[in-house]
């Protein structure tokens, strides 16, 4: 069943076309990756789907046309974004960040949010150790964990992750990818934007290659990972 259906999506910044006529579909329970070089429009694509920036074309999520939906109402509908810059509440503690992540659950009472927080701590034990610490003082990896946990507090159907491995040490990257795969097992669908194409494609059901704001190539994760053009451009030279 189609969860997300993006059609003819275009975004222009002051006359420059950042994303042109992109079509993207994904089903419930899938992990889908968008790879591509710097400046290909990957972040712009996710921002447009999240509603942060205006775009032309259509985004349908769970059968609902999102044209008139704000960022906030998209979150309420189960569509969450973890942005590249994380956008944490730096002066607040880890626990407060999570509590706010559960804003969508506020009608269900304090208990529901506390239960969701415990689930997050189980998923990211490091955060449990740091729950009283201010978000601004966390390491890069911990920040990414907190950003993901905060988004998960809203119980999203679809979680969009923008460069979750950016600037992180290899061991932590491995953890993050393991967590992403574990999340899928719990029923969360994931739309992933990554520089680390090899790791991303390895866990993906389907992938898109974005170049110059257009979809240059698409296919199954494994097929893309084996495609000679991809190997040459994104996997072969990138000796990460």
């Amino acid at each position: 069943m189609t969860l997300l259906d993006v059609r003819h999506l275009s975004v222009a910044f002051g006359g420059i076309q950042a994303v042109s006529d992109v079509a993207l579909r994904m089903a419930h329970g899938q992990i889908v990756t968008v790879i591509g070089p710097n400046g290909a429009g990957k972040t712009t694509l996710l921002s447009a789907i999240a509603g942060i920036i205006p775009a032309s074309g259509s985004v349908t999520f769970g059968g609902v046309d999102l044209a008139r939906h704000t960022v906030e109402s998209r979150v309420a509908g189960g569509l969450s974004l973890v942005p590249e810059k994380r956008e944490l509440f730096a002066g607040m503690t880890v626990a407060e960040n999570l509590r706010l992540g559960g804003w969508r659950l506020r009608a269900q009472g304090f208990r529901a949010a506390t239960r969701a927080m415990d689930e997050c701590y189980a998923l990211f034990p490091r955060l449990a150790e740091r729950r009283g610490q201010r978000a601004g003082t966390l390491s890069g990896g911990e920040r990414q964990m907190l950003a993901m946990a905060r988004a998960l507090m809203a119980k999203p159907t679809l979680l969009m992750l923008d460069e979750p491995s950016l600037g992180l040490a290899p061991l932590i990257v491995r953890d993050i990818f393991r967590t992403i795969r574990a999340l899928r097992e719990t029923g969360v669908s994931i739309l992933l934007v990554e520089q680390n194409a090899r790791a991303a494609l390895a866990i993906s059901d389907y992938g898109y290659v974005l170049e110059g704001g257009r979809i240059a190539l698409e296919g199954d994760g494994a097929a893309l990972a084996a495609d000679p053009r991809i190997v040459e451009m994104y996997l072969g030279t990138a000796a990460r």
Partner: protein, 341 residues
């Protein structure tokens, strides 16, 4: 100057400073959440004071027209933007509420219900003006720059000032004190009104602190202040946060007006000067620090009361000059204080 005069001036300064502190807190909070510098805060102070004074004479205050008018305008503006969703709630907030308040006021005012009820009525009539103003003037501009919001704020100040003259006329009036008791502390006499002012401002500050520190809603407001995008990404609607911030500012602004009404004669435009002193304190706090703003407000109150004694003609000048060294110091310390996000 002997000791008793010193103590009287000290007491005056602290009492006025407490009121400025309340206003400074509102300015800091509203700016943090909405990036609006709330200049019309001063009008709220005047309107609350004059409404309170009118109620005490047993008349129905004309500010009810303002309440109804602004509520209606806010309804139309918001209904236009919303295209028919959640209209019922909106109507309750902007139409039914003012009608209810007006009804109660018309019923109670001629009976001279006593100071406590009059205070509550004055608060009920004045405080909602702030959220209506937000819906009308600021919510549609929520994504504009700080400068545009400032211009809108000046506009709102001028418009409300004009309406204030129309509604209350050019005459000043003075509200009754909450208490006529005089406490003697040694050879120093402390009027009951001063204790009321200190007690209520401290209570309001403690309430604000508890709200922001320990409730989810308060935390959400802080979240909007530190990271708007982050707040939106967890589903907090920034316009709702702005509405709540304005509501709090409305309540505290009106409270300040009611507190100041027995101290001095208030005219339709007196609140502006009072608000400006709160603004000085807020600026000292960098429009960001609540404790600094409160501290600065106390200093402003003290400077004002002592300069009133030594050089009363230059009282205001001295108070507003205090801000210059602070601004210089600030601009030296942070070369890049342009808070444009």
């Amino acid at each position: 100057m002997d000791q008793s005069i010193f103590l009287i001036l000290l007491q005056d300064g602290v009492v006025n400073g407490a009121i400025y502190a309340l206003l400074a807190l509102c300015l800091v909070m509203v700016f943090a959440v909405t990036r609006v510098i709330l200049i019309p805060q001063g009008e709220l102070v005047s309107f609350a004071a004059l409404t309170y004074a009118t109620l005490d004479t047993g008349h129905v205050p004309a500010s009810l027209y303002l309440l109804g008018g602004l509520g209606g305008a806010a309804f139309l503006r918001a209904a236009w933007a919303k295209r028919g969703t959640a209209l019922l709630w909106l109507a309750v907030e902007t139409l039914v509420l003012p009608a209810g308040i007006a009804g109660v006021t018309v019923w109670l005012a001629p009976q001279k219900p006593g100071v406590a009820v009059e205070v509550l009525l004055a608060l009920a009539i004045t405080a909602p003006l702030a959220p209506y103003l937000y819906r009308l003037a600021f919510q549609p501009l929520a994504n504009a720059s700080v400068l545009v919001l400032l211009v809108a704020s000046v506009g709102a100040h001028l418009a409300l000032g004009g309406l204030g003259l129309l509604i209350f006329g050019p005459e000043g009036s003075r509200g009754p004190g909450f208490s006529t008791a005089m406490l003697s502390l040694g050879d120093q006499v402390v009027p009951g009104q001063s204790l009321w002012i200190l007690g209520l401002t401290l209570t309001a500050m403690a309430g604000l602190y508890l709200f922001f520190e320990f409730t989810l809603l308060g935390t959400a407001l802080r979240a909007v202040a530190v990271n708007r995008l982050g707040a939106r990404l967890v589903g907090i609607r920034t316009e709702q946060a702005g509405l709540i911030a304005f509501t709090l500012a409305g309540i505290l602004g009106a409270l300040s007006g009611v507190l100041v009404a027995p101290l001095t004669t208030i005219y339709y435009d007196s609140g502006f000067l009072i608000g400006l002193k709160g603004f000085v304190a807020a600026i000292v706090g960098g429009l960001a620090s609540y404790p600094l703003a409160v501290l600065a407000a106390l200093v402003v109150g003290l400077v004002e009361s002592f300069s009133a004694f030594w050089a009363s003609a230059f009282k205001e000048v001295i108070v507003f000059t205090v801000i210059i060294p602070v601004l210089l110091w600030r601009s030296w310390r942070h070369q890049d204080l342009e808070d444009e996000e």
